[in-house]
Symmetry: C2
DNA sequence: CGCAGTTGCTAAAAGGATTTAGCAGATGAT
DNA sequence: ATCATCTGCTAAATCCTTTTAGCAACTGCG
């Protein structure tokens, strides 16, 4: 067994040509003047020897590595990371690239470290992903670096990919409207009076803005709006239980995310109320949870996978497209609203 | 601004020494005979210039990249991936390594591709992760490659990291026993008669084996065992609903994972049964879900994060430790069982 | 025929580190 | 005084590609 790696020199030798010729042919240079026969011989030799270029050597020469760095604040806590990573991986693979995954925990020091580690490995570009879309500070980078912000925005780096929250907010209201739900509607997760002066993440703001814009257009209003800061199941439960306890006149629930909706389900269930017959519920995110709830939760899906793909596309695109790229959130109809006619 | 990268030659020049000396000093070679003063000068020069070694050049020479490949079948569908990846990332970072993330979808062709992509980049080692522990086929690799199987096993690669399912199974039974639950116990998710001849994943078998071993030891038996192949919420719901419909004499539920338990919650809730007062429930995995259920679900946690860390440790350890490394599953007590005394 | 331009190819440099082999001077032993 | 050894350091080779510069032979044109 020839233990040694096969090098370009081996291929050239077998093909009876110079290394230069072999290199040009294998890298598919356009206007070389090498003969068709030379091409054939080199390809044959490469195939026969099972030649694979040494990417370190190539990187040394060209400064290109077909590797992109995915730097995120937290992979950990959030199930959302999966979709973003999966989409990124798929698109990168498609483009013959590979992904270096780095986590910073949101700490500036580790951010700098991560960037240096990536730079040392001469990545071709950076994707900065935040698990909660937010204004992200990105430490200084070599001027030439290609950067895409994923589920995040940054003053210095204008290329970003975000879910189209505003449209999803509007669509949610339209869905309720077209289901004939125009009053008795409760909003779970936000109250503008209570939260005045506090800034939520950029995407959340847009989600709310879309909701309110469409309600205004349709001349609708919430009968009650319940605020809580973290949108977790337990808060959904408590808020809705509170509403029920004080006999608020609610006929439908618009929850600001699926976990709140989950909590709402629990409160409604305890109170003996049926979804959707008594109270329809809709929500946002399309968490894994949403399909497992009973009845299934109608919700607007965060398009994480497509976002990841888009980020890679933008990163590798020949032209920089320096603006926000909004990916539509698709409506996922399940029984928590779609059966409305049945009751 | 000096746009050019600073190289070792620059450092050497500034320090007034040869490149050889600079290299030896910066890489911390042990028995070089260079003077203390030379050391100081080189370090000072490196710091002053902000020198960072070109890793491609180093890789070309040494075949080491301080990069490890994390090759998994699916990052996608499973929330479990998070913990494994997070642990891996943390430990790699700690050790000054970086992680290349590759996904194969479990398809052999893509597995080969992923391995080649990693090999091309001269990774220092491979972690093969399966999202459902199973016997994994790993395509041929250069003989010298360092490999660790994570949540998976492989005939060719003996170093593996797995959750200690057997002990968790035993612990679950001990927990029930010590809570005074000795009869009326239903097992949700498996029935040895129905499933005879079918092989589930390695870890699942062990989980069951632990359960059955401890029951035998304590002279306990299930009053009923319900089988289903995929452990999803909907199956949990249907199985438990079925039990309730036919008035099976059940007093407690041992669910084989949290999603089944979630379904069980739904069925019990509909039937107006209280957890744990009427029916305590315990389970395995410690899915995110488990904390959000109401009452909280007592469960045995899959130690994914620690598993990821251990995998990296084994990969980089000076000595190969060619056997299974079992990571304990910790008991997470919540209200679905711990309140048993209250009823 | 002389000259310009094409065609088909190659020698050698460059990229930035590590590592081998070895040199000059000092020290110690005989 | 001679030889061996140690000390502190360096020149040059090496890893494997890509790329620049250019060569020799041929074609076409006036």
């Amino acid at each position: 067994m020839g233990k040694k790696r096969v090098t370009l020199a081996d291929v050239a030798r077998l093909a009876g040509l110079s290394q230069t010729a072999a290199s040009m042919i294998l890298t598919g240079r356009p206007d070389t003047r090498l003969s068709a026969e030379a091409h054939a011989r080199v390809h044959a030799a490469a195939a026969e020897l099972g030649y694979r270029p040494n990417l370190a050597a190539r990187a040394l020469r060209t400064d290109k590595t077909r590797t992109i760095a995915f730097i995120s604040d937290v992979v950990a806590t959030t199930r959302f990371a999966n979709g973003l990573i999966r989409g990124t991986l798929a698109a990168a693979d498609e483009a013959g690239h590979v992904v270096l995954l780095l986590e910073t925990g949101g700490e500036p020091a580790r951010e700098v470290q991560a960037i240096e580690a990536a730079l040392d490995r001469q990545v071709d570009g950076f994707i900065f992903a935040a698990m909660r879309a937010r204004e992200v500070f990105v430490p200084a980078l070599p001027a030439a670096s290609r950067v895409v912000m994923l589920n995040a925005t940054s003053r210095q780096h204008p290329v970003s990919v975000l879910p189209d929250e505003f449209e999803a907010g509007r669509a949610a209201i339209r869905l309720l409207d077209s289901a004939g739900i125009r009053d008795g509607l409760a909003l779970i997760g936000h109250n503008p009076v209570v939260e005045q002066g506090y800034f939520r993440s950029e995407t959340v703001s847009r989600r709310l803005a879309g909701i309110r814009a469409e309600m205004e257009r349709l001349n609708m209003a919430f009968v009650v709006e319940e605020s809580c800061w973290n949108w977790e199941a337990t808060h959904g439960y408590e808020l809705v239980k509170g509403l029920l306890d004080r006999r608020a006149p609610i006929k439908a629930l618009l929850c600001l995310n699926d976990r709140l909706a989950f909590g709402a389900y629990q409160a409604l269930g305890e109170a003996g109320l049926k979804i959707p017959a008594d109270i329809p519920v809709i929500s946002f995110d399309n968490d894994e949870l949403a399909a497992d709830l009973r009845p299934g939760l109608t919700t607007f899906a965060l398009p994480h996978e497509r976002m990841g793909q888009e980020a890679v596309r933008l990163l590798l695109a020949p032209e920089i497209e320096p603006f926000e790229h909004l990916i539509p959130m698709t409506q996922v109809l399940r029984e928590s609203l779609s059966n409305i006619g049945d009751g």
